[in-house]
Symmetry: C2
Subunit: 311 residues, 2 copies
Amino acid sequence: MPADSVRVFAPATVANVVCGFDILGFAVERPGDEVRMTRRPAPGVRITRISGDEGRLPLAAERNTVSASVQMLLRHLGREDEVGVDIELHKQMPIGSGLGSSAASTVAGLWAINELLGRPLSALELLPFAMQGEELACGAGHADNVAPALLGGMVLIRSYAPLDVVRLPAPALHCAIVYPHVEVPTRDARQLIRQTVSLKDAVTQWGNVAGLVSGLFLNDIGLIGRSMQDVLVEPVRAMLIPGFYRLRELALQAGAIGFGISGSGPSVFAFAPDEATAAAITEQLRQHLASLGVGSQGYVSAINQQGPRVL
Amino acid sequence: MPADSVRVFAPATVANVVCGFDILGFAVERPGDEVRMTRRPAPGVRITRISGDEGRLPLAAERNTVSASVQMLLRHLGREDEVGVDIELHKQMPIGSGLGSSAASTVAGLWAINELLGRPLSALELLPFAMQGEELACGAGHADNVAPALLGGMVLIRSYAPLDVVRLPAPALHCAIVYPHVEVPTRDARQLIRQTVSLKDAVTQWGNVAGLVSGLFLNDIGLIGRSMQDVLVEPVRAMLIPGFYRLRELALQAGAIGFGISGSGPSVFAFAPDEATAAAITEQLRQHLASLGVGSQGYVSAINQQGPRVL
């Protein structure tokens, strides 16, 4: 008999992974979001409390991605007239940071309802509902945050129609993540990108994508690093991030294996061989941002291998 | 003490592998080309005989890619004023077929001179000379035929500057190859391709590239097959191949795992789970071409794992 109440943590995620625009993403151990979900006798999905969002997220159940995706799942299972839950959402990561904030919340909610119902669906089966949540939050049903948040590790979305998701080996690397306190909404970041590209640049890009995927399977850290280059999207998005190219230089000098924008930014991330190096990189990047008058948050994390977890 | 004479076979190759335009290629066991090279006391590189080319290839040493690349290698080693060789080139595969004909000849020649000199260079070190040979033959120094011809198996060219070549696991599959007797010179086939592409199509393409590479590492035949789709180059090049889409349909109906154009065509290839299926596919495709009034040659081959071999 499933419990009446559950607390679930779902991880932040780094989409794109530099060269893999719209097809790659990975999960980190921290930060992430927490959902506490409790069954009620009366049917219906309610958001009873949100913390950590500075009042930015809607409590209205149909407009909040967490409750909306839970409702969709209940409808799919034919249990919307029977099951009732109260949801507390505890945001433990910044909104609009490029770290998959809405994905973490949505995935935590879906994981929680699935737990309360006795796990009728697999992680992969939860994915379409999480994507619908993303559509509500970001205007597009991308999977490169929700898929790694749900599955953990490094995930490839080979195709959307039909949906084809492949779990890749996650490297035994540590992650430096820095969120500079500037605003880059996902919608705007996407609109900046040119909708046509030169075939030459596209070939360069898929050479790097193939190199990165090969490096992950071969556990070839050098190849992973050499492949973490983006000739198409980064040059545009870098303009939204204060001192981006200097941040890269500092990260690489401090021992980063690769460096780039997390999702649509403004957060940046670096792979590092160990936790101490990741911590040093995070510190250096934050210092440089401070010297530019930009506040920031820093995280040091291993790669999350398991996806969400019940607390 | 190295021998005074050597015979070398180098394999035909399938470049692009459908989605991996300009970055992927693999070698087959047959067809291929043979070079017989014999040392002479007087310095200089001579082509003494070419068979199987229907008189199409130049005997003049500086215009023939085999002798020209051998000369470049000798110059690089500082031995051009000392070493002399006579070269016989026995073409055992069609020219202009999209099967890496010039690459096979060039690689056989470089492998032969390296053998005669006691192997001063590794296979990877021979690659730049083979690429210069390709530049002479095709007007561009691509590596997606010469790299798999030299290294065997499935090869990724992640980057050209600097040159970064990765050996991928070759699938335990068989290959059906059919060369329809129509002329598609590489230069023209390249000029047909649009030089700008939509970002959306590019994302689809690198999703498939990542899927194919993952499928090779995971030995996931289904994923390999699903990833063998090309939304950018094939739609243009298919027009040069009689009945292309019907050929695909026939191949897939006959059990092909994937089907596409070999290099710039007009040859087509299919992956098949076993030799009998590959043979049946080859036969069906040839029959259909015959019904269109197009003659063809067919090959059935395993994937070549070792590259060139001394006969």
